[in-house]
Assembly symmetry: C2
Homo-oligomer: 334 residues x 2
């Protein structure tokens, strides 16, 4: 690998000091227009590209143009859309994004958290596995810029962008109740994640408001992955007195549920009504079109990136928490 040209070589060729070259690059200090032009010319000639690694090592924070994004599952279209939102804002601001996928795995999340710090990224956007995590709190306490997305964290003032999960779930279940369902099952998320807890709370609130008793046996917890959707749907529908409707707390588990229902040759919504959370590529043209709670996913990503950029720019600013609104899209599965 022929070593790429560095700042020293540019300086020699341009017959100026390294600091002059550095200053023309970073627009810091006063440099005569003539010198600047000359240096730029030489840089172009030699095909000089600043070494981002050396730059990051030298500068303490803020100007390295590298963001971290740690998400639970890149195969979930929800997080893919979110990542796009983050990416777009980052790109517009000349930041690169170090994207890591921890696969709902605690150890892997820990690994990537370490990597982010060791790479000294300017800041990171994180969708944490658990709602309370001492290690993450410590990172924040150390002054690392962190913004939570989708899932949040308790116990510290952290910038975050979330959706009103409880309200989304409330509307979904209320809709099912209006349709006359009384035995409504929920395939919820992990109980120790913020979204899991909030969506379950919305479910319970809707039942309570309608004066319908909450039957514990109809509440099951998945892990937001397809397989748990399959398994838990099977479990619920195999009960002596199965539910007539299902509220499923994320899109991947909804896919699993649909597969199980198809395997059982049950009809939607006649035999079992369905409302999901998060949109899905073919949802609108599915048979029947799927009723779901849609989140402004891309916007969540954008907002988070904007928040992070602001915090990097001004580390001492007050933390803000943005809550976006979900929307119940009523189609034909309910």
């Amino acid at each position: 690998m022929p070593s790429p040209v560095n700042l020293v070589q540019v300086a020699q060729r341009a017959k100026v000091a390294t600091s002059t070259v550095s200053r023309t690059i970073n627009q810091t200090g006063k440099i005569s227009a003539a010198t600047q032009e000359h240096v730029r010319q030489v840089m172009r000639e030699m095909g000089y590209k600043p070494n981002r690694v050396a730059r990051r090592l030298r500068t303490s924070e803020g100007k390295c143009h590298l963001l971290g994004l740690i998400i639970p599952n890149i195969q979930n279209p929800f997080f893919a859309d979110l990542a796009r939102g983050v990416e777009d804002v980052a790109y517009q601001n000349n930041f690169a994004v170090l994207l890591c996928n921890y696969d709902e795995d605690f150890k892997k999340q820990q690994f990537y958290l370490d990597v982010m710090q060791a790479e000294s990224v300017d800041g990171m956007i994180l969708s944490p596995l658990h709602e309370s995590d001492k290690a993450i709190l410590r990172i924040v306490a150390n002054g690392f810029s962190v913004v939570c997305v989708d899932r949040s964290l308790v116990g510290a003032a952290i910038d975050k962008v979330v959706v009103d999960n409880q309200r989304g779930a409330f509307e979904a279940v209320s809709h099912l109740l209006e349709k006359g369902h009384r035995r409504i099952g929920i395939i919820s998320g992990p109980i120790d994640s913020s979204t899991g807890r909030e969506r379950l709370a919305g479910y319970k609130a809707a039942l309570a408001q309608a004066g319908v008793a909450c039957e514990p046996a109809l509440i099951v917890h998945g892990d937001y992955r397809e397989e748990s959707g399959r398994r838990l749907t099977d479990a619920l529908l195999s009960r002596r007195s199965p539910p007539t409707a299902l509220f499923i707390a994320n899109n991947l588990m909804l896919i699993g549920a649909i597969e199980t229902i198809a395997a059982k040759s049950l009809r939607i919504p006649k035999d079992i009504a369905l409302v999901g959370f998060d949109d899905l590529p073919l949802a609108a043209v599915f048979t029947p079109p799927l009723t779901i709670v849609r989140q402004p996913t891309y916007e969540v990503g954008r907002s988070a990136a904007e928040l992070l950029l602001k915090r990097i720019d001004e580390p001492q600013r007050a933390t803000v928490s943005i809550q976006l609104l979900p929307e119940l899209i009523i189609r034909k599965s309910s």
Copy 2:
């Protein structure tokens, strides 16, 4: 931000030289077991984490444990699966992955290519926009470790992992011909991408073998995005004599096609038969279940990562090109 402990501080506290600490970390050189244990102990006490940036700056190549992955579209489940394959192998080998999504945008691809070099990653996996790209060839010529996935590059010996696109398309179209279709339209990919070219070639070969004339008007080129699927399907079906079947060269465009077909209230496969390329989350339970050419996507990612790791380990090894086989999954849309 309280500066994290560094190697020097560890050395001082342990009353040894920095080189001793470095050597215990990297298992290089001879260190007595006793000293090693002592140093490890101190490292644990102080919560020392090696600074990856400094390490990357110092070491020439190979041991930085950072891979780059540049893909056209993270919102395409195909690339999400592929990314998972790459990630899994990387994680097993303690590598982090710098994932960048260029959104089928040439300038953005260029930007990320620059970033990868400037970050001095150990190597990268790339699915290039165009089949021939001088800039990329130059990077490879400079000794940068690059592995192509899915889409390939002409003009240089590069490790690559691809799928036999021509064969996949051939089987898809042959299947349609067997079903009796004679007017088969194709929504192909970009003509200057390797997959676009190869899938079109497979289409033509199948027609030729069946002795069916190839009608240029039935060949249209999309950009692998949903919107072009919508638009081009509309164009083809609005013709005076529309095709009776459509072969659609990727999953996102297939979604667009299905939406357009639904909007026109056409029935699949009665009014228009459909075969897609790449699987899709709900494809198997869709009405009708979708016939598609399935690629071993996750495996493609895994193989590419393994190849890259090998090349990093041994830069001078002969380039290898792996071709995986696609599989036609016949369901009910054709």
